[in-house]
């Protein structure tokens, strides 16, 4: 199978029903997508599939063949972190950071579709992402800040 991840084509050996997450982490070494629940309920493993945020932990890798997969590692461009990532750092919007990769890709997708989201729209877009450290408000502030960059 061939996958296009962060703009690069890769041949992978996994079986077609293998969840994409394990292919990313173990075969391609892209560990930025985290395992949190394995059943699409926490958001830690989110990636963009053709620009749409989706859980990679219960998505068969075969589904992603022929599509553009963007992981948190692929958000940066020309050696610079994505505006959302820069804002997350500027706002010190994390504690343990485990939830942040998924949040960053969802926030990037939101801003790609909606340049000036309201606070309520940011919260709605991130509602699938659980954060146990309670970093929610700083994350929302960071996404709004990124929108105004």
């Amino acid at each position: 199978m061939n996958l296009t991840v962060n703009g690069t084509a890769h041949a992978v050996a996994a079986k077609p029903d293998t969840p994409l997450l394990y292919v990313l982490r173990n075969e391609l070494g892209l560990v930025g997508s985290r395992y949190g629940c394995g059943s699409g309920l926490c958001g830690a493993c989110y990636v963009l599939i053709d620009g749409r945020p989706m859980a990679s932990c219960d998505l068969p890798v075969s589904f992603a063949v022929g599509k553009q997969i963007t992981t948190v590692e692929g958000l940066a461009a020309k050696g610079e972190l994505h505006a959302v990532q820069r804002a997350l750092i500027a706002e010190q919007a994390a504690q343990c950071g485990y939830c942040m990769s998924g949040i960053a890709v969802s926030a990037a997708a939101l801003l790609a579709a909606n340049k000036r989201p309201t606070e309520a729209q940011v919260r709605a877009a991130l509602d699938k992402h659980l954060c146990r450290c309670g970093s929610h408000n700083r994350v929302v502030k960071a996404v709004l800040r990124a929108a105004h960059e």
Binding site: C42, R123, R132, N137
Partner: protein, 669 residues
């Protein structure tokens, strides 16, 4: 002092210093700390302290991940003590090095030889001269995490490692009877009731574990008591007086008696990243990579269960997701070590599943707090009694002569596991913060320790303080209502400590408490505590809505943690704690069988309240900031919900409200 003893001490000192602080050839300073980063930003704060005291730029300082191979044994990273204790030791070591440099006449630390003669009373920098400590600096390790770089134990790859899943039943008390054969390409390892499946590819281990679990046979003889609170009250094994100050004369002035009971359910740590560990036993020593809070305690437990000398075990710390206390980190590490012992020299990576974590993590224990007080004719509290029932709140490895971790009890033959215990006050476990911070003339605090545990519990952020402060502060509001006194006034009447009064004043001012307008379905509430009675001060005001659903709209917290090493780090922890406590209060109570985020929901982005944090600054010794807000936040929320429930349309109360609470007594004016 005896001369040889003296030089012996000096050598030990030199070892301590060089063990801690290393001046590397590339011009950096590496610091070995026994404290570990748990997602609370501790390494940045420690780096600030070291840079400050040594007088070197912050960028030059690098905090090493802790390892039993080279770190000083500083116990566990818990109880908000890292800055208080770990910071103190580091500050002293760095001050000694600075003094050594001064006396040596050398130009830089990098030319310095640390020998036997350590200046014993090296002066530490006076806080007034601090340029780095007390300043908000960005967290050093954050950019890598945000970029998605390998940052956690979950991300470690060892050569030739195999992936493992443990095969436990979906309940925390059932035991394994029989297992089917391993699916093709996978392998089962088993010792007694402890079993795991191994595969070269992670997805194969996951698939095999699913199949094996579905077909395995488990006993299910134990049950959770239906009414855990009644059960706790009926099973006390020790009834201890925590504090007594009998004043029958004052008590006799009482004209009104109030009683109430408050209940704290089992609560999950519920880290976003389920526990994970790696282990390798290829010749010697046994190496384990773990997100434990105590590498030395874990090593001791591993030595006991694997019957190995401690010198033949190395535990390396690697970060996990935020843990908020003692979660599955140590259990998964023992699991991984046991699997490694059966894996014929292969390195093993064991990832607990989300379901494993919910079913088997050591929950924050359930508690019952019963309060009984008397008011005099002027509305002063003249008598106070506090009874608490709970299992122990500490079940960490390395503290008992018997093992504590799950797998130890599953092996053939099984180890007898030590029960959870409560450390003595002032820190305490279940009894943490059971002694009220207020002055009441007649006082009795009783701790009813329950040894038998229906499910294993251990330290969860703030331990017993959470249940005790919740009870005390809820009851203060009940008393204020009965005495017809403003809840803020009643607290201030009985609180002498000026720092405590100052955080209450601050939160009242910043939240504009006095300007609150009473509205249908809305309420506000206040609560206060000094964490552990010796730690950080915190007062919280909550504003809630209790109409078709319960919502916390706004939280205002005022804290005094002495000199805040990294003020933004303090604010970040307090904000996060307030949000987490909101989640505990509104949504959380673990029941057997809750295995997923659907069955154990936590607060979401759309539900998080606005949080404002005000730091009451001073230059007094730094106190931990990670836990002080938990009790006050939930109590302020419960008080606000009761306030809202007193308006006619809102009768919804939080699940934790006392069964007797807020039902009819509040006025509706």
């Amino acid at each position: 002092m005896n001369k040889s003893l003296d030089s012996h001490l000096a050598l030990a000192d030199a070892r301590r210093l060089t063990q801690r602080v290393h001046f590397e050839r590339d011009g950096t300073v590496t610091i070995a700390s026994g404290k570990v980063d748990l997602g609370q930003g501790i390494s940045t704060a420690l780096a600030q302290i070291a840079a400050e005291e040594l007088g070197v730029p912050l960028e030059k300082v690098c905090i090493l991940p802790a390892s039993t191979a080279y770190s000083p044994d500083e116990g566990v990273t818990s109880g908000s003590l890292s800055i208080q204790d770990g910071g103190k030791g580091l500050r002293k070591a760095c001050a000694e090095l600075r003094e050594l440099l001064k006396r040596s006449g050398k130009r830089s630390y990098w030319e310095l030889e640390v020998a036997g003669d350590i200046p014993a009373e090296a002066p530490e920098k006076p806080p007034a001269e601090y340029r780095l400590v007390g300043k908000s600096v960005p967290r050093l390790e954050l950019p890598a995490k945000i970029a998605g770089e390998p940052s956690y134990v979950h991300d470690i790859v060892l050569p030739g490692m195999v992936h493992a899943r443990v095969l436990r039943p979906p309940r925390p008390y059932a035991r394994l009877v029989s297992l089917p054969a391993a699916p093709a390409g996978t392998e089962i390892v088993r010792d007694g009731s402890f079993a795991a499946v191994l595969a070269a590819r992670e997805e194969d281990a996951i698939e095999a574990a699913k199949k094996l679990r579905a077909k395995a046979v488990w006993t299910d003889d134990a049950r959770m008591p239906e009414d855990i609170y009644g059960w706790l009250k009926g099973h006390a094994t020790e009834n201890k007086v925590t504090k007594e100050n009998a004043d029958p004369v004052a008590k006799a002035r009482g004209v009104k008696r109030l009683q109430a009971e408050y209940r704290k359910p089992f609560i999950c740590h519920a880290s976003i990243g389920p526990s994970c560990a790696l282990a390798r036993m290829e010749g010697e020593p046994l190496e384990v990579w773990s997100h434990t809070q105590g590498i030395f305690g874990l090593r001791q437990e591993l030595a006991m269960v694997l019957r190995l000398p401690e010198e033949r075990i190395v535990v390396h710390h690697a970060e996990g997701a935020g843990c908020y206390g003692h979660n599955g980190a140590d259990d998964v590490a023992l699991d991984a070590a046991l699997i490694a012992r059966m894996a014929k020299g292969r390195a093993v990576r064991l990832q607990w599943t989300r379901e494993d974590e919910f079913a088997w993590e050591p929950y924050g224990p359930a508690m019952v707090v019963a309060l009984d007080a008397q008011l005099d004719a002027q509305g002063n509290i003249v008598s106070w009694r506090h009874d608490l029932w709970s299992n122990g709140h500490t079940h960490r490895p390395g503290r008992a002569s018997k093992p504590v971790l799950i797998a130890a009890g599953e092996l053939a033959p099984p180890f007898e596991r030590a029960p959870a215990i409560d450390p003595p006050l002032p820190a305490g476990g279940a009894q943490r913060n059971a002694i009220p911070g207020y002055e009441f003339p007649d006082l009795l605090v009783m701790h009813h320790y329950v040894r038998e545990a229906p499910v294993a519990g251990s330290s969860l952020r703030s331990l017993g303080a959470f249940g005790n402060v919740y009870g005390i502060e809820s009851f203060m509001d009940e008393l204020a209502l009965a005495a017809n006194v403003d809840p803020v006034d009643l607290r201030l009447r009985h609180l002498k400590d000026p720092r405590g009064r100052a955080v209450i004043d601050a939160v009242v001012r910043e939240s504009r408490w006095a300007n609150w307008k009473r509205m249908e379905g809305k309420g506000h509430g206040i609560a206060y505590a000094r964490y552990k009675n010796i730690g950080g001060y915190c007062a919280v005001v909550a504003e809630v809505e209790a109409t078709h659903e319960l919502r916390v709209r706004r939280l205002v917290a005022a804290v005094d943690v002495g000199l805040p090493v990294n003020p933004d780090g303090v604010a970040n922890q307090v904000e996060g704690g307030c949000v987490q406590a909101t989640s505990w209060a509104l949504k959380e109570a673990w029941r057997p069988g809750a295995l997923t985020w659907e069955e154990y929901p936590i607060l979401k982005f759309s539900e998080a309240p606005a949080v404002e944090v005000h730091i009451v600054r001073n230059e007094l010794p730094s106190l931990g900031a990670g836990e002080c807000m938990m009790g006050p936040t939930v109590a302020a929320i419960a008080n606000a919900l009761c306030d809202a429930a007193s308006t006619r349309s809102a009768r919804r109360r939080c699940a934790w409200c006392s069964p007797k609470r807020g039902s009819s007594t509040r006025s509706t004016s």
